[in-house]
């Protein structure tokens, strides 16, 4: 009896199972962010006349240096997206050594992003919004500016750390030779997730930092 391998059937869309599964997962994840961003949009549309609900201008709150630092952060994440794509191209071409290095750059890019994000959080919590931990301070603008900032960047940060671990697993698998050249699908799916995280950051960066 031929062993039934659990792979795409004859009538499949020609897409490997993993990719289809990852894309449907990304639909779900994108909707979670849609929930947060829609909440952010609604909280921001409060009419500013009611005292205490005026939304501050991000440039003043984060400071020009803060915005430029985050722009650098976005650029780093885009670079790690590029290195991921190169890693995939190398796997497709077959020389795993180069793919391994590209994947290492991707992981390093992710870690740098998390580092800068962590630095920014501590800076914001300690210096810009001391009211979070000591009630004597207070801020005249809408408290939800900080709330939505932490929710959106925190949730995205969680996704980036999961992505770094995911890439680390791929990297170790390649180093140990578990993943060979014809396991391109595995890396491609990891790449999909990483690009999705970068894509979401582009939107979050625009809404939280720039508008």
């Amino acid at each position: 009896m031929a062993e039934m391998v659990i792979g795409p059937g004859e009538e499949s869309f020609g897409v490997p199972n993993g990719k289809l599964g990852m894309w449907t997962f990304l639909v779900m994840d994108a909707m979670t962010f849609a929930g947060f961003l829609a909440g952010y949009a609604r909280l921001r549309w409060k009419d500013p006349l009611i005292e205490g609900t005026a939304w501050p201008n991000p440039y003043e709150t984060f400071g020009v240096f803060g915005i430029q630092l985050t722009a650098l952060n976005t650029f780093i994440l885009v670079c790690s997206s590029v290195t991921m794509v190169h890693a995939l191209a190398e796997v497709m071409r077959g020389n795993m050594k180069r793919a391994e290095n590209w994947l290492l750059f991707t992981i390093i890019g992710g870690l740098i992003f998390l580092g800068i994000q962590g630095f920014e959080w501590t800076h914001l919590i300690l210096d810009v919004w001391p009211y979070l931990f000591d009630p004597t301070h207070s801020v005249d603008y809408n408290l939800n500016f900080a709330a939505t900032f932490f929710a959106l960047t925190g949730f995205h940060g969680g996704h980036v750390s999961v992505g770094v671990i995911y890439n680390l697993v791929c990297y170790l698998a390649i180093r140990r030779g578990k993943l060979t050249a014809d396991d391109g699908d595995f890396i491609e799916v990891a790449g999909l997730y990483w690009h999705f995280v970068d894509l979401i950051w582009i939107l979050v960066f625009t809404f939280v930092y720039l508008i």
Partner: protein, 551 residues
């Protein structure tokens, strides 16, 4: 009943699991076989259904007579919320996921689901979520804010109890588990169909599961984000003011996010039911479905329209007049695809040769009473009338007609229909009919009365009411006790049948035309020894009795 002679996929795989029950159960726990995971979903959902039913009996017992005689309002206020969450999140949706796991891969001609281990993980998220949610009764007072959990009642100031946190975490985990299931169903349906089984040859139940999965994928995460926001606000009240007006937040935002999930969720809870009923009508009227393509596209229509009507749950929350008019008009349009489906079922029955086995009885009962639920929905949809009927017992009557006479009746129909296929044994027909007539009669006694209570102005979620409504509540309570009693007949029937029901062949209903009726019942571990080859045929009954399963 020793383990060795359990048939088909129920049979123990390993040698040692034949001897010891524990290893046999562990084998089930680690299984990646979709059919076994389906059975586990169904058993888990049945247990939670019983819990939900007990909670509903406590509610009706208290409401039987005016006056707080059985319990304090402290306990009573937890019951509506926990009854609803037990039934919605732990009974109906997992039960549909169970039948989908059991039947859909076979109907697609796939050997198993696309991601077997993810399938197992998705199931094993459910029991912890249920423990989280129901333990709120033991740990501290359960949440007293209904299953909708509107802030500021649900924030840390007005429901400080730990039970509320537990319930919220339980719900987030259930949401994740059902999205994991949805990813699996979509990948299987899109990618693992056997030769010849194009998208428009798929049986309607599989189509219903596809549309349900898409609804789950796009709506459940919005509930997860709303619950995460609520949890953040509960844990760090000085930092997060999403829904707290004093910090610039807006309680209506939570309602929007919640109902953006919950309206597609009610379609998640009915669409697989539509799929099951379409299958049953074809088999028991020996006639293909009336207008296959119209049925598929009306399901897709319901799903897409389901996303743009959510604010009809919030007509009285103070949203703008033109917003209400817009959402009211869209809600009116969503009744059209449902109407098409009901008329198409009538078209299927018309001119068929109907045999009244129990699944068919339940399906007909569904069709007769779901129409009442659908029409009371149309009455509620018109915003002007809704201002008088919102949050009264008219809404409770509509909910229960659509869910009990809708989803639960289809679940019973599906259960009786696929029971012989899943266990290889026939249930007792007489007990099945007693169960059907009991459920139908007492269901109407319980819930039709509530239409009048609602019109008279009796609000929802009340521990005690004005004695004007005493008679209606008395009738409704007696009806609900009898409804609960009748379900015992169902469980007896199933226990007897599993132990000593007479064995059935591959096609017990002799008219099943989809792929699951071509393989042994119960199917073996790998149900298709060779990839099956579906001959695209207009699914005729009669001359082309069973599709050729290439040996």
């Amino acid at each position: 009943m020793n383990l060795a002679n359990l048939p088909g996929f129920l049979a123990p795989l390993g040698k040692d699991s034949e001897k010891s029950l524990l290893t046999y159960l562990l084998e089930w726990a680690y299984t990646t076989d979709a059919k076994r995971i389906g059975v586990m979903y169904i058993l888990f959902a049945a247990v939670c259904g019983v819990i939900g039913m007990i909670l509903s009996i406590m509610i009706r017992a208290e409401l039987a007579t005016p006056g707080l005689d059985l319990m304090t309002d402290d306990l009573y206020m937890t019951l509506p919320g926990m009854h609803a969450s037990a039934m919605i999140f732990f009974f109906i949706i997992p039960m549909y996921a169970g039948f989908a796991n059991l039947i859909m891969p076979i109907q697609c001609g796939a050997p198993d689901m696309a991601f077997p281990r993810l399938n197992n993980a998705a199931f094993w998220l459910l029991p912890p979520a249920a423990i989280f949610a129901f333990s709120s009764y033991i740990v501290s007072t359960a949440p007293q804010f209904g299953w909708t959990a509107y802030p500021p009642l649900s924030n840390s100031v007005y429901s400080p109890q730990l039970g509320a946190d537990l319930w919220l975490v339980g719900l987030i985990i259930v949401g994740t588990s059902s999205t994991m299931g949805a990813v699996n169903f979509l990948s299987t349906a899109f990618n693992m169909r056997c030769k010849g089984m194009t998208l428009f040859q798929l049986p309607l139940f599989t189509w219903a599961v596809i549309v349900m999965s898409f609804l789950v994928l796009a709506s459940t995460p919005v509930l997860t984000s709303a619950l995460i926001m609520l949890n953040l606000e509960r844990l760090f009240p000085e930092t997060f003011y999403f829904f707290a007006p004093e910090g610039g937040g807006d309680p209506i935002l939570y309602q929007h996010l919640f109902w953006f999930y919950s309206h597609p969720a009610v379609y998640i809870m009915i669409l697989p039911g539509f799929g099951m009923v379409s299958e049953i009508f074809q088999t028991f009227s020996r006639k293909p479905i009336f207008g296959y393509h119209v049925m598929v596209w009306s399901m897709v229509g319901i799903a897409v329209l389901g996303f743009i009507v959510w604010a009809h749950h919030m007509f009285t929350s103070g949203i703008g007049l033109y917003v209400r008019m817009a959402f009211m008009f869209l809600t009116m349009l969503i009744a059209v695809p449902t109407g098409i489906k009901i008329f198409s079922w009538l078209g299927t029955l018309w001119g068929g040769s109907l045999s009244f086995k129990t699944p068919m009885l339940f399906a007909l009962g569904f069709l007769a009473m779901f129409t009442i639920g659908g029409l009371s929905g149309v009455v509620l949809a018109s915003a002007a009338v809704d201002t008088q009927l919102h949050d009264t017992y008219y809404v409770v009557a509509h909910i229960h007609y659509v869910l009990v006479a809708g989803s639960v009746m289809t679940l019973f129909a599906g259960w009786y229909y696929w029971w012989p296929k899943a266990t290889g044994r026939m249930y007792n027909e007489r007990l099945g009919q007693i169960h059907f007539w009991g459920t139908t009669v007492f269901l109407n006694v319980t819930f039709f009365v509530q239409h009048y209570l609602g019109v008279q102005g009796m609000p929802r979620r009340y521990a005690d009411y004005d004695p004007d409504f005493a008679l209606g509540n008395l009738i409704s309570s007696y009806g609900s006790f009898a409804l609960a009693a009748v379900q015992i007949v169902f469980f007896i029937n199933m226990f007897i049948s599993f132990r000593s029901g007479e064995r059935v062949g591959d096609n017990p209903w002799k008219d099943g035309t989809s792929l699951e009726w071509t393989i042994a019942s119960p199917p073996d571990h790998h149900q298709f020894h060779h990839p099956p080859e579906w001959i695209p045929v207009e699914r005729h009954h009669g001359d082309h009795h069973a599709p050729a399963a290439a040996e």
